[in-house]
């Protein structure tokens, strides 16, 4: 007699109306499928690709991109975007290179702190002045690039003694690049904090529906400023990886990472409209983007075509993941 009959028909009528588009279901696995397909394709095109050496090189190349994309993913999850990450990372390489001689081991945390503060300032400008994040960070990108040029004297800043950042360029167990391992740690750490605390609810609610989140008493403004702050810190850390590898800082050193980072986020399947997605998706996305990057020369495509690829990837990935029910007018 205790059959839960009443439970049966409950959700039936609504499910059809709200079920995700078929494409949406696919996008859940899209980054992994793309990743596997790429690995197979590259292995076929170049049998040397699957050697330890080349895999190590790929993961080392991917590390700064993974960190940049991880930070920016937080902002996208909140429904915004950060276009300044690459410029901020470039500026950070300059600062790090300049500060290393005086601050030594403290230079890296100092640069990460400054980058986090710059991110927080942009977040505060977005929240308090009610300017779209797209505009704030577009302006920020320009300002930070210029500051990097001024501070560096418009040239590369060489690092004579790179001992304090050398550790980032070492290898764990001989083969795993430290930078790649640290990138994984960053992704895992942020993802774990999100998952284990109310932050996940707050970030998702802010991204899916800011007005509903606000009316539920969610600290929307703080969440957004926090996301920008973390994104800034990630840009600073990515800069440390670049400096450790190149023994220098440069005012445009990370600039070419902006499009790949955005591509990594959207290829991972995080919705550009906010709410839906995760940092792990961006990790997979970053690997896909990196493989494409190293794979193009292997299959004989000149690297000049790279930018065309990023542009196309972003447009196609967003087309596949966009939640049309949420956007009635496309601006």
């Amino acid at each position: 007699m205790s059959t839960p009959v009443a439970m049966q028909p409950v959700a039936e009528p609504a499910i059809g109306a709200n079920s995700p588009r078929p494409a949406r279901r696919l996008t859940g696995f899209m980054p992994l499928i793309a990743l596997a397909a790429l690995v197979v394709a590259l292995a076929v095109a170049d049998p040397d690709f699957l050697t330890l050496r080349s895999l190590t090189a790929v993961s080392r190349t991917a590390a700064p991109l993974i960190v940049l994309a991880a930070g920016a993913t937080l902002i996208v999850l909140c429904g915004g975007i950060d276009l300044s990450i690459a410029a901020l990372a470039s500026l950070s390489t300059v600062l790090l290179a300049l500060w290393l001689p005086d601050l030594g081991g403290l230079a890296t945390p100092a640069v990460i702190g400054v980058a986090a503060a710059i991110g927080a300032v942009q977040g505060a400008a977005h929240v308090l002045l009610r300017i779209p994040s797209f505009i704030v960070t577009l302006g920020g990108m320009s300002i930070l690039s210029a500051v990097a040029l001024v501070v560096s004297g418009a040239g590369t800043v060489r690092v004579v003694d790179d001992t304090p950042v050398k550790w980032l360029d070492l290898y764990v167990a001989g083969y795993v690049p430290m930078s790649a391992a640290m990138a994984l740690v960053v992704v895992a750490l942020i993802a774990a904090i999100l998952k284990a605390t109310p932050l996940h609810s707050w970030v998702s609610a802010t991204g899916y529906s800011e007005s509903a989140a606000r009316l539920a008493g969610t600290p929307v403004d703080l969440v957004k400023i926090g996301a920008f702050c973390v994104s800034g810190a990630c840009a600073g850390f990515a800069a440390a990886m670049l400096v450790s590898r190149q023994y220098s800082g440069g005012p445009t050193m990370a600039d070419n990472l902006l499009l790949p980072a955005v591509a990594a986020i959207v290829v991972g399947g995080t919705a550009i409209t906010g709410g839906h997605g995760s940092l792990w998706r961006s990790l997979a996305g970053a690997l896909v983007v990196t493989l494409l990057r190293v794979g193009l020369p292997i299959v004989g495509v000149p690297s000049a075509y790279e930018q065309i690829l990023y542009g196309a990837i972003i447009v196609v990935a967003v087309a596949l993941t966009l939640d049309w029910s949420k956007v009635s007018i496309i601006k």
Partner: protein, 517 residues
Amino acid sequence: MSVPAEREPATPAPVPALEVRGLVKHYPGVKALDGVDLVVRQHEVLGLAGENGAGKSTLLKALVGLVTPDAGEIYVRGEAVKLRSVVDAANHGIGMVFQEQSLVPNLTAAENILLGGEGAAVRRGVYRWDVMRRLAQEQLDKIGSNIDPLARTDTLSFADRQMVEIAKVLRIEQRSQHPPVIILDEPTSVLESKEIDTLFAQIRRLREFASVVFVSHRLDEVLDVCDRVTVLRGGRSVGEVATAGAVPRELHRMMIGSTGSDDHYHENAAAAVAAEQPRLSVRGLSGRSFRDIDLDVAAGEIVAIVGVHGSGREDVCRALFGIEPTTAGEIRMDGKRISLPNTRAACAAGIGYVPAERKTEGMVGPMSVAENMTLTKQKARCAGPFVAPRKQAGLVDRWIERLSIRTPGRDTPIQRLSGGNQQKVVLARWLIGGDIRLLLLDHPTRGLDVGARSEVYRLMRELAAGGVATVLLADSLEEAIGLADRILVMNDGRVAAEVACPNGGKPSPLDLVKEMV
């Protein structure tokens, strides 16, 4: 149905301009239209009356092709049609003047009137202002308006803009050789009384060459301007009234039905109201759209605020939750003065708010029942800074059971639930912390069917019995009267009257309407 008999015309009735038979439209959890029948005769002004949620808007949207009905037929001059878009409807001679005005403010009246149908007014992509002016003037002449076609729309009064809208809609005459059907959805809600007179004169003029469907909340207006009224209730047509000699009370009775179940609002469960100091005490609260609001709500008391659109009652409610800014006045909770700069402060003060727009403001659709329920009172599911999964599961399941929320599970996205169950989750959000002292309910039963409404009512009674003070913006006057212990009538941003509303001594809707307008 006890419907007053229609006076049979002497001549055989011509084919109706528009006829609707058995129109059905489902939304998740709600039957918006449940077999509506409607006849619009040629050269007649038909009124459409019904409470919120009776299906008026859905029906109108179906008539102009914005909503595709699940079943039923629409006939235009006797011919069955499928209306797939506004253009489709216009081709059949059906046009609508929308409730929210649809003019582009920084264009001239002429540009607005011809928008999307410039025709001869554009040659090789360039405006020909003389032709445009002439074509627009032709449209304005049809309604005898003396508005300058070259005036910018944002310099016109609301009434004049409405004339421009009507002139614009009348363009559909060019698409169909038959007299058009013009739908006016709540056209008077933004107008002053003198402007309303002008509008009504215009509607009578339209009748000469068109049929008109007129929708308004104000029954006296409906009776004044219409020849006949169709009453909708619960997605069905429940009656027709010839307006000659009819009184608003008669219409109103049909709109709300013979409230059947005596205890629809669970009046017998009304809580005893604490007599000592009020839970919420508001003095002289002023903001953008309200002035000098005094409001007391005791623990266990339900106070309804009623008023027409634009009376400022929604803003008062939002001000009490720290959304709408205030310029003066004080708010006290249990005697202690509080300030509400934002929603966080309101939550911390033990105030909860259920917004009118459930789907966009009340809940986060893609997130789970559990996440939606715990969104505000995070502490209730956490141990230290971390979410405790077991604690959360126990808490959420307990409330699912307590409020009999029907859901496949706590991890189901809330958007898959029916409206009533969604609303219960939104309500539970404020209850799980155990610290709720004041609930602000903004149209808590909007879009819910009868059964779900009843459950929300019962829940409100239970909460009141538990000592929660409630401010209610009801969906209808009937609902306000049925649920409230006391009613504040707001008019033009001020409290116009306060009416005691005890069980057994309830005022009639007409008593309240007197103060509302």
